[in-house]
């Protein structure tokens, strides 16, 4: 394929009168001016607003592109994933019940093996109880791949949107840090949550007696 750019090695050196450089400078000058023209056109609504950020990155965006973090933040899409968290449902009694059954699938599919689970046991019989006694995630090992959330059959572990995680020490996430409410999950991932809730409701009506 021959593209629009033609090439004449013989003449390349002889035609050096700075034309190419001036042309290039023209491109940057236009970009510079367009920034100010767009500023005028948007009159103050270009910075610090959701539409302003979206416009700068849209097909019509011209001129400046930069987002002034942390004054401005790009809204993260629904599928954005960072560290995992555990979802709990709030029962009418006010009790928080984790969806996790300590089945161990997440800890077994985890590529860097950063999930540790201690399964609870009934104190009287000693038989395994479907909930975690301890649940630890080492965020230094976690590679944010999202496989745990993908393979969890109980919608119990999900990926968080929180990304400003700087801290002064290494820390392991335990149950107190990991547990977040189903309402929070529905807020950060509305489409996914609605789909999963519908699927669980359908399953519950198909098998009455088994609560979701």
């Amino acid at each position: 394929m021959r593209a629009s750019v033609t090439r004449d090695t013989e003449n390349a050196r002889s035609t050096m009168y700075g034309k190419g450089i001036i042309k290039g400078l023209g491109v940057t000058l236009r970009r510079f001016i367009e920034t100010y023209l767009d500023d005028l056109r948007w009159w103050g609504r270009r910075y610090g607003t959701r539409e302003g950020i979206a416009h700068r990155a849209s097909k019509d965006g011209r001129g400046i592109f930069t987002v002034q973090y942390p004054e401005e933040k790009i809204p993260v899409p629904e599928e954005f994933r960072f560290l995992p968290f555990l979802v709990y449902d709030e029962l009418p009694t006010g009790e928080r019940r984790l969806r996790c059954t300590a089945c161990g699938i997440c800890s077994r599919v985890c590529p860097p093996q950063c999930i540790w689970i201690v399964r609870a046991a009934y104190p009287d019989t000693g038989r395994p109880k479907p909930e975690p006694a301890e649940f630890s995630i080492d965020p230094d090992l976690c590679m944010n791949c999202g496989l745990c959330a993908e393979f969890c059959p109980f919608d119990a572990i999900k990926m968080d949107h929180e990304y400003e995680l700087a801290s002064y020490q290494r820390r392991v996430l335990d149950l107190t840090r990991l547990a977040k409410s189903a309402a929070y999950y529905e807020q950060i991932r509305p489409v996914n949550a609605a789909r999963e809730n519908a699927a669980r409701a359908a399953k519950a009506t198909a098998r009455p007696g088994v609560t979701a």
Binding site: M1, S4, K59, E79, R81, P111, W116, I117, V118, D138
Partner: protein, 590 residues
């Protein structure tokens, strides 16, 4: 595809897959293990067979060379994947040798010089000594390292078991950090004579400099005894795109010899991969060439799908192609920006390129959840369907914004006199050398070889799209810049067609369990990655973890031709030539 430059036309063989057993009676037998293909060649006839394949049958391109340690069978095997640059399916050769401390196999560098780094890697990691290799030193590990890590009887410290998942995580997973769990030495056997504290780092350097001087002496003759100047560029150097070192031997400013030194980012990705289950490897492939994770996913998914014998549904195929081509655009933008940085165009071109790349990453984030570590492909499809609005965003970008911005970038760059002066005629790689050194991708095509895996051996649904294989004739830095601009436009064409044609439907053939057994056998999945041919050689023994997981990394193998391109150039050009190869150290060092 119009005029093709003057390259000796490869001989056209009559049969598509020749019967080597008949041609080399007694020395070559078909590989009859279930799930395996190819031919097993007697070690002492390897060179003869390889020469005949190259000269008579047209298999002029050595794609991949690697070793496999079949510990239970007591054998070591070297696997060669050969292709014709005129296109078509490949040929797999294997050489077997009994397992020993040092396994000896003849080197094929005299026939395929592109084997040089790959044979060094196999020696380093598997302990296969290639007799006749011009410079057989370790390449990723350091000189003096004890043992060969990819051998199955070599155990890595800090890991409680040879295969994941580890038993300590569930159901009694009391958290312990790795250091508490397995202190160094607990599960590592040093040879009796090995004393880490007595290791001398200069030993490797001495071998390196000796090899460099020897190569330069052989190439330049010894007419006049002058003392050449030895200069190390890197490993800490901003223009090496990571931690990469180049030792150059100079006569004044002219390069007499050059050796690339790598492995500073080595983490034994392949050993990690053999400890992982199949699905666990998917996010790890993101971290190879971390600028084009979708392509890496693609290659690995293809290889495992071959073993599983499944195909993704239509919509997933389209999504794969769209994502892979967007990755190519993003990667080439980054490559162009970084090359211009290396040429001294401080940051304007880089940031112009990065703007558009950011928008592609926005799409990746929307679709896969992450900007760079996408982990989007699954065996038999992709992880999830496009969210609301993503398709419009892709359309806006590739149909409206990108074409305009590419015009801008071309106006900014290609007529610039400085870029022309630094690029035209510099770092030339001839067409014949590009094939000989197994160069791939834009590097090969800028040298005049129109070889693109998407056309030569179409995978996925690439046979449905209309696009041109870009080719440039001069093989210099400037052409390698232009060809990336060309390829961006071709990728836009493909995405434009794909977003028009994409059907509705499921995106995953059938959800696979988190742990599965893969039928025994071998598979080589290759894709045209942005940096060149990216291949995954996977061997399954029927267990949940791959027995062998090897990556044909284009950045790594493209570096084989680096010395060839630099000889006779000025030392300042090394930086520009390296930039024009476009390497990512995550993939080079693995």
């Amino acid at each position: 595809m119009t005029d093709h430059p003057a390259v000796a036309p490869a001989p056209q063989p009559t049969a598509s897959l020749p019967d080597l057993a008949a041609r080399f009676a007694g020395h070559v037998v078909p590989d009859s293990r279930p799930g395996y293909t190819g031919w097993i060649v007697a070690a002492d006839h390897l060179l003869e067979v390889a020469r005949a394949l190259r000269d008579e049958l047209g298999y002029d391109y050595l794609s991949s060379l690697t070793g496999v340690d079949y510990l239970p069978q007591g054998k070591m095997e070297v696997v060669y994947h050969l292709y014709r640059t005129v296109g078509g399916p490949g040929l797999v050769l294997k050489v077997q040798a009994p397992r020993a401390d040092v396994v000896e196999v003849p080197s094929i560098t005299s026939i395929y010089p592109g084997a040089e780094f790959q044979e060094r890697e196999a020696w380093d990691l598997l302990g296969i000594r290639f007799t006749g290799h011009p410079d057989l030193r370790r390449i990723l590990m350091w000189e003096g390292f004890a043992g060969h890590p990819l051998r199955k009887d070599w155990h890595e410290p800090y890991y409680e078991a040879e295969a994941k998942p580890f038993p300590s995580r569930w159901p009694d997973g009391h958290y312990l950090s790795a250091e508490q769990r397995a202190p160094l030495g607990d599960n590592l056997a040093y040879p009796a004579t090995f004393d880490p504290s007595a290791q001398d780092a200069s030993e490797g350097d001495a071998a390196l400099y000796e090899a460099l001087r020897r190569a330069a002496r052989d190439a330049n003759g010894t007419a006049l005894e002058t003392e050449p100047l030895l200069v190390n560029l890197g490993p800490q150097h901003p223009s090496t795109h990571g931690v990469f070192r180049v030792a150059v031997l100079l006569d004044g400013e002219t390069i007499l010899g050059l050796k690339a030194v790598m492995g500073y980012l080595h983490r034994n990705h392949e050993k990690i991969g053999e400890r992982n289950t199949y699905i666990m490897n998917m996010p790890y492939t993101d971290r190879l060439d971390y600028l084009s994770s979708m392509s890496n996913n693609f290659g690995y998914a293809l290889a495992v799908e071959k073993l599983l014998n499944i195909r993704p549904p239509e919509r997933a195929e389209y999504l794969r192609v769209i994502m892979a081509e967007l990755t190519r655009i993003a990667n080439h933008l980054m490559a162009i920006g970084a090359l211009l940085n290396d040429l001294g165009a401080y940051f304007t071109p880089m940031l112009y390129a990065l703007e558009e790349r950011e928008l592609i990453l926005d799409i990746f984030e929307m679709v896969s959840g992450a900007r760079m570590m996408c982990n989007y492909f699954r065996f038999g499809g992709v992880a999830r369907d496009l969210p609301e609005g993503a398709l419009d965003k892709i359309k806006d970008l590739v149909c409206e914004r990108l074409p305009r911005r590419m015009d801008d970038l071309e106006r900014l760059l290609i007529e610039n006199e400085i870029i022309q002066a630094r690029g035209i005629g510099q770092g030339v790689l001839s067409a014949a050398d590009a094939i000989r050194y197994s160069a791939a991708g834009p590097l090969l095509r800028a040298s005049g070889i129109p070889y693109d895996v998407r056309r030569a051996e179409p995978y996925s649904i690439y046979d449905r799209f209309e696009f041109d294989v870009c080719v440039r004739d001069n093989g210099d830095i400037y052409d390698r810049l232009l060809i990336r601009l060309d390829e961006i436009r071709q990728s836009m064409r493909i995405v434009q067609q794909a977003v028009r044609q994409i059907p509705d439907g499921p995106v995953l053939a059938k959800p696979l369990p988190y742990q599965m057994r893969v039928p025994p056998g071998e598979a080589y999945g290759r894709v045209e990655g942005p940096k060149g041919e990216l291949g995954f050689y996977v061997v399954s023994d029927g267990s949940p973890n791959p027995w062998r997981y090897h990556i044909r990394a284009p950045s790594f193998i493209n570096l084989t031709a680096f010395e060839r391109m630099c000889l006779g150039q000025k030392v300042a050009d090394v930086v520009a030539i390296l930039g024009s190869i476009d390497i990512v150290l995550g993939e080079v060092d693995r």
